[in-house]
């Protein structure tokens, strides 16, 4: 691999889930082109789901992502239940919310401490960080372990849980199992609050999108910070149900990415994930998380994407507090699951994966076989907004040395915790400084 003049190349973006590349063409005057390229090889889930049994959807779609399998299981079970026309019992809904809290905790803490924080400290990894801040890394690992313990108990294992089924769970947790989990959560809450206070001390690059404000999109419901339930709302007044999603959001296939770009009303990029949820659902945050947000000075409207690390930490506090409450209030359902006979139908669901809204739609036939599946993961929805951030950010960064410039671009991408396995990974970053030519 020979370097060409005026080109910076990194063969692979590190500390993201998946293989992606960034291509930026610019000169001293302007940024001409920004492409977040996703080379993650396609796996064609929507194709091979056709003909499979509806009951297999939670296990098969979980394999789209090893980091957020619970999200796929939650969207698929809710979509199938929507198709068959029933809702799971309240006790099941509580357990699903608890399971989701576990995934939010482990996924967010992985990103905060192991993938993103090293950027702010100019380090390569959490292992390097452990030499300088051993107590922070050890506490983060302990917190992540608590998240995994929740998923482990309710799901059977941390990655690709086996206990989730349409209508409920194969086996309900025993009271004593939940109690032993409950004991670890007081300590976890202390750790989560400490982690938030620590990330709030990191020096954040400033970035102002007031010229082109973000369009935040997230679930919302008055009763609770959204995970499995709610209407889809935006910072611009959208308010729809899951079955109206495709009327407002469309996927576009662009040549430089194996992940489809999803846009609102055909042309508007939007922003999903912790920043969107936080801005649209602040009132619903757990009181301790809300209070902490005020303490660290991060309250809506909040739009510095580099501060997403703090928002993510606040969501961890929220998830731990919620998990505690759920266990304290848990009323075991009468049955581990309920069933309903398969019928020809269409079902929709949107749930809040750690990285943002995850849309599933299925058509099933009267034998319960999937005729068509459509899945829109969070990262494909954020791709265009990531590109816009880079395009708008670069002109103010031209004074930086090339190395620092490249590092800042990578950090800006990691603000979104992109999950490229979901979106379809190989991040090859090339900053191409050449005279502008028409392609």
């Amino acid at each position: 691999m020979k370097d060409k003049s005026k080109t910076i190349r990194v063969d692979y973006l590190a500390r993201v889930e998946g293989e992606g590349a960034l291509y930026i063409r610019y000169d001293d005057k302007a940024v001409h082109e920004v492409q977040l390229k996703i080379f993650e090889p396609p796996r064609f889930f929507e194709a091979f789901l056709q003909g499979r049994d509806y009951s297999e959807a939670p296990d098969i779609t979980a394999r789209i992502c090893g980091i957020c399998p619970v999200a796929y299981q939650m969207s698929s079970v809710h979509a199938m239940e929507n198709a068959l026309g029933f809702e799971a019992e309240p006790g099941i809904q509580q357990l699903r919310r608890l399971l989701y809290c576990g995934e939010w905790i482990e996924s967010h803490v992985l990103h905060i401490a192991m993938l993103h924080a090293p950027d702010f400290l100019k380090l390569h990894s959490a292992v390097d960080m452990a030499k300088l801040h051993p107590e922070i890394v050890q506490q983060a690992l302990a917190l992540k372990k608590t998240g995994n313990a929740i998923v482990n108990l309710l799901g059977g294992r941390e990655i690709h849980p086996i206990n989730v089924r349409i209508g409920g769970f194969y086996r309900l947790p025993k009271r004593e199992e939940l109690q032993s989990l409950r004991k670890s959560l007081d300590e976890a809450l202390t750790l989560a609050i400490a982690l938030t206070r620590w990330v709030a001390t990191l020096k954040l690059p400033t970035f102002d999108r007031q010229q082109q404000p973000y369009l935040f999109v997230a679930l919302h419901n008055e009763q609770e910070y959204p995970m499995n339930r709610g209407r889809l709302v935006s910072s611009a007044g959208l308010d729809i149900t899951a079955n109206e999603f495709e009327q407002h959001f469309t996927e576009h296939h662009v040549a430089h990415s194996n992940a489809l770009h999803c846009l609102m009303n055909n042309d508007r990029p939007y922003f999903v994930g912790p920043m969107a949820r936080f801005n649209l659902n602040f009132q619903q945050l757990a009181p301790c998380a809300k209070q902490l947000a005020k303490e660290v000075g991060v309250i809506p409207p909040y739009s510095n994407p580099f501060g997403s690390i703090i928002v993510r930490a606040l969501e961890v506090v929220h998830a731990v507090a919620t998990a505690r409450e759920l266990i304290d209030q848990y009323q075991a359902p009468e049955h581990p699951y309920t069933t309903k006979e398969a019928k020809a139908a269409r079902g929709y669901a949107i749930t809040e994966a750690p990285r943002g809204i995850l849309y599933h739609r299925y058509d099933i036939n009267d034998q319960g076989k999937i005729q068509e599946a459509k899945i829109v993961p969070p990262t494909s929805q954020n791709q265009k907004t990531i590109e816009d951030d880079l395009r708008l950010m670069l002109p103010t960064l031209m004074h930086l040395e090339e190395e620092d410039l490249r590092h800042r671009c990578e950090q800006a991408i990691r603000n979104y915790d992109p999950c490229i396995s979901c979106a379809t990974h190989f991040l090859q970053l090339s900053l191409d400084k050449i005279p502008c030519t028409t392609p």
Partner: protein
């Protein structure tokens, strides 16, 4: 002081779950990082030390033209290569494409099929290079992964059993879901490693760890049909998921599809 062994972690076509298992070793991660030099692990670190490597851990299947070259280069610069997970050891769930027309698949998902570069098949790492050890599972068991890493670094054989899930159930006194509930459990033909997780959760095994050593899936499928009245489609679904391209599962499913002819 001895120099630390250089370990590399590679990703091919996969969900990232198996390499994540290493980061999920919350209690052991920092000790592992102290014991070895994590020389290449893109998901965890931006530090990249060039080969050769003492041990390469490979996740994912081979499904694109570029990966054919990359896997050959991984082999060339690694003393040992260990394939981890169902994608790397059997092609993964994405090997369902091997039975289908890939162009139909591409056009189901993508509007511009001409933008997509992919092979018609998704295949195991051992189909392309010599692999020193295969660790099964979708996903792998993180304790088994630590055992394998430790074994290779100490130049001994990994202690990984290749008996069936049934043996794990018996060892743990788990009630048999096939006998007690009449379910089409894959336990008799599936390799152990998960700790018989599904039966412990009152669920039939669905074969995440792939075929055990010398399985007899034809006999099991026959038993399901005659004793259990299991629907043929259900049997094919059981055999055709995360290890669909593992020869024992693939051949058994094919026999049922074609009505018994091998």
């Amino acid at each position: 002081m001895m120099t630390k062994a250089k370990v590399a972690v590679w990703k091919f076509t996969s969900c990232d779950g198996c390499q994540l298992s290493l980061l999920d070793c919350e209690d052991e991660l920092l000790s592992v990082a102290n014991a070895v030099d994590i020389a290449y692990f893109m998901e965890a670190t931006s530090r990249q030390v060039p080969g050769p490597y003492d041990l390469s851990i490979v996740e994912g299947s081979i499904s694109t033209p570029e990966q054919l070259e990359l896997i050959a280069s991984v082999r060339a610069q690694s003393h040992f290569v260990v394939a981890i997970g169902a994608c790397a050891t059997a092609g993964g769930i994405q090997a369902l494409r091997n039975m289908a027309n890939i162009d139909d698949y591409i056009s189901t998902v993508y509007a511009h099929p001409d933008y997509i570069q992919t092979l018609a098949t998704s295949t195991a790492i051992s189909d392309h290079i010599h692999v020193d050890f295969e660790l099964r599972g979708c996903p792998i068991n993180k304790h088994q992964l630590l055992e394998v890493i430790s074994a290779f670094l100490n130049q001994r054989r990994p202690r990984i059993s290749n008996h069936s899930v049934c043996v794990e159930c018996k060892l743990e006194n788990t009630i048999c879901v096939a006998v007690s509930r009449g379910e089409a459990c894959m336990g008799p033909i599936t390799q152990a490693g998960c700790g018989a997780l599904c039966p412990r959760y009152h669920r039939a095994c669905f074969g995440c760890y792939g075929p055990k050593e010398n399985p007899n899936p034809d006999s099991l499928a026959q038993w399901w049909q005659t004793e259990n009245h299991t629907d043929k489609v259900k049997i094919i679904e059981n055999l055709s998921n995360f290890n669909t391209a593992a020869p024992a599962f693939h051949d058994a499913a094919e026999k049922i599809r074609t009505g018994g002819k091998p």
